[in-house]
């Protein structure tokens, strides 16, 4: 049977993917805590932690610098907040040959509007942070929490999409719309096209066409360096040391979402290596029909207890029914089931409790651990 140990020990980067609200962030943090406790130098990169988890991980400010989370004597975990909104500016600054070149891009009004949306630059930024930490951080394992399902595809495909844009004809067209005319095209045709584009601008009121051109011309100066960097980041995503873990929960809505997501990821050449099912009710408690009540209770209370138990049995049956279809479409092994713990989780103690479910064998003490699979 494939276990999480088996999956993690051969990897340097693990991405937790899945739909919104299934507990990706918490799962990623729990995996990282356990990995660190076993003596591997580990960092968790998280997208949107709940306040309690944020506090537990010491992520009080928004930057891409790792924070050290002490886990006991001589053991620690590093935590990094992935801020996908801000950092493409830094990529631009890093790649520009001169400050003027950087400024030409950064001050473009369209860049300011577009840097979040254009061909996945925001997503690429996150990949860039992962790349940088993998290259320079000296970590044994990076556990990466990702944005919800639909966007994780954009996220993991960001390098390729950015490359495709840089190399595309559309990019050239945006820079100078008249390139769609044949080289031998008459001067008249150029004039007509320019007039049409100007007319379109006037007609629609969108002052975009020209500004997009300015933007593309400005950013083009950077494309050589950007292309090399993006290619390297893309190779890292596809390397043997990288694995994808699908985090899910036993809910009907997730059956289709998981199938679609797995298919989309496989289409990118990024197969899911295993599945973690969160929020399972402990089956044994609710599977065996109605047990006899404890002795000596008022009948009214027994009735209420029976009802509370029956309701959870209904929920457990619903979960059981959805479990098979949930993993069927994904063609990957279930690595662990984590019980539905009441309320919101986030403290380090919570993470360790989850880790005990993720790693069925009792976790080794930090001092005797160390060489897990190395």
């Amino acid at each position: 049977m494939t276990t999480i140990d088996g999956l993690l020990e051969r990897r340097r980067i693990v991405f937790c993917v899945g739909s919104g609200g299934v507990g990706k962030t918490t799962t990623a943090a729990a995996l990282a805590v356990e990995s660190a406790r076993r003596g591997r130098k580990t960092a968790v990169l998280t997208v949107d932690p709940a306040p309690r988890l944020k506090d537990a991980l010491g992520l009080d400010t928004l930057d891409a610098r790792p924070r050290r989370v002490p886990l006991g004597v001589g053991v620690h975990l590093d935590a990094v907040l992935l801020d996908v909104r801000r950092t493409f500016d830094e990529v631009v600054r890093g790649l520009a040959a001169t400050p003027e070149q950087a400024r030409a891009v950064l001050e473009n009004r369209l860049y300011q509007n577009l840097s979040g949306t254009l061909a996945g630059t925001a997503e690429y930024t996150a990949v860039e942070i992962v790349f940088r930490l993998a290259e320079e951080g000296g970590y044994d394992l990076l556990v990466v929490d990702t944005p919800p399902a639909r966007h994780v595809v954009d996220f993991l495909d960001a390098p390729r999409r950015l490359l495709a844009l840089l190399d595309s004809r559309a990019f050239a067209i945006l820079k100078d719309p008249t390139v769609i005319l044949p080289a031998s095209g008459s001067r008249l045709a150029h004039l007509v096209l320019s007039a049409v584009l100007r007319g379109l601008e006037r007609f629609t009121g969108l002052e975009l066409v020209r500004e997009v051109g300015d933007f593309v011309r400005a950013i083009e100066a950077l494309t050589g360096a950007l292309r090399a960097r993006v290619t390297a980041a893309d190779a890292l995503l596809r390397a043997d040391g990288t694995a994808l873990v699908l985090v899910t929960a036993p809910e009907p809505r997730l059956v289709d979402e998981n199938t679609r997501l797995t298919r989309a990821l496989a289409g990118l050449g990024l197969p899911v290596g295993g599945i973690i099912v969160n929020r399972m009710l402990p089956r044994a408690l609710f599977a065996g029909g109605t047990p006899p009540p404890p002795d000596g209770l008022a009948p009214a209370l027994v009735a209420r207890l029976r009802r509370a138990h029956a309701e959870l049995a209904t929920l457990a049956a619903r979960q059981e029914a959805v479990l098979a279809p949930l993993v069927e479409g994904t063609a990957a092994p279930v690595l662990a089931e984590v019980p539905l713990l009441p309320g919101d989780l986030g403290s380090l103690a919570d993470l360790e409790a989850i880790a005990r479910h993720l790693f069925p064998a009792p976790a080794a003490a930090p001092d005797s651990a160390g060489r897990v699979g190395r």
Binding site: A170, G205, L206, E207, V209, P342, G343, D344
Partner: protein, 331 residues
């Protein structure tokens, strides 16, 4: 203040589920209801229930989901298509794909079929359309506006359009689109469309934005942020939050004491585990409900957690009944 009293009633919820939700969802004459919230909180179930509740009260309703999702099955239909289909008396449903909306939009504005097609097929236009801030969102809104304004033989086709909108992270760009694009477009047909959409969205007599959440920390936090953003800078009419999947109250205070005694003396009986689990879930949920009310200064409309799920027979009907009560709708 009467509002406080009613909120306490909601929280104190006697016996069964919180039946006594006060009538506070202003839904009587609305033309457009946009339902949003964090992923996984049950937006589609609430959208389906709202649509059923309003159709049940005699108004003609169109339920719309933006991109593929689970709305169709929750309304007792299969997967929804791009054209509205009848799923129940007075209730139609459809799915809206932003790419199709692009075609409608360009044809509507350019009027000349040939020119529109040429433009749509050109790579540069596609890249431009995908890159233009707020354009895909504008297209969705434009399509919704079309349904709200649609008339046949001088009579409205739909009294109400209910939208199962994208999760909150993407609803904000959607609802901010008229403003985002407005800074780039000052005149011409696009500007006119923007103005009409903006007028509809900000008119509290026609539009209502419903934020759905579960009583869990992350979802509640996101709801508070989104509520402030939508009601504040964007000036949209936002309804009191809808708290979905509130764990029911199953045990009184005396029960709790008895259970604690049992736990202290006996082992882990399955009944006790179940009871403790339900008590704990309810306790934490009420804490989140309080946090939500404190942050937004208004009580939430709450819907019960359904153990068999909203997709089970009677699930959506149950939620619809509660929402109809909250909106003061009668059949």
């Amino acid at each position: 203040m009467s509002n406080w009293t009613s909120s306490k009633l909601t929280l104190r919820a006697s016996g069964s589920y919180d039946r006594d939700v006060p009538a506070r969802l202003p839904l009587a004459a609305q033309r457009l209801v946009i339902v949003t919230g964090k992923g996984g909180v049950g937006k589609s179930a609430v959208t389906a229930a709202l649509a059923r509740a309003v159709a049940g009260a005699g108004r003609r309703v169109l339920a719309v989901e933006v991109t593929r999702g689970g709305l169709g099955p929750l309304l007792g239909a299969g997967t929804l298509g791009p054209a509205p289909t009848v799923v129940a008396p007075r209730l139609q449903a459809t799915a809206l794909e932003p790419e199709e909306a692009l075609g409608d939009f360009v044809q509507g504005i350019l009027r000349f079929r040939m020119l529109a097609r040429r433009l749509l097929e050109s790579t540069s236009f596609q890249v431009l359309a995908a890159a233009a801030p707020g354009l895909p969102e504008l297209l969705v809104l434009h399509r919704l506006l079309g349904w709200v304004e649609e008339r046949r033989l001088g009579r409205r086709v739909y009294d109400l359009v209910v939208v199962d909108a994208p999760a909150s992270g993407h609803s904000l760009p959607l609802l901010a689109a008229p403003r985002t694009l407005g800074t780039l477009t000052r005149f011409g047909p696009v500007a006119q469309v923007l103005a009409r959409i903006q007028a509809l969205l900000t008119d509290p007599s026609r539009t209502l934005v419903c934020l759905v959440t579960t009583p869990e920390e992350l979802a509640v936090r996101e709801t508070i942020e989104l509520h402030r953003e939508l009601a504040g800078p964007l000036g949209l009419p936002v309804a009191p939050p809808i708290v979905n999947a509130l764990p029911p109250r199953r045990f009184g205070r005396r029960d709790e004491a008895a259970l604690a005694r049992l736990e202290a003396t006996g082992g882990a009986h399955a009944y006790l585990v179940a009871a403790r689990y339900q008590l704990e879930r309810r306790r934490r949920a009420l804490g989140q409900l309080t946090a939500l009310r404190r942050a937004l200064h208004e009580p939430a409309v709450s819907l019960p957690f359904l153990f068999a799920g909203p997709e089970a027979p009677g699930g959506v009907a149950r939620l619809a009944a509660d929402l109809a009560a909250a909106a003061g709708l009668t059949a």
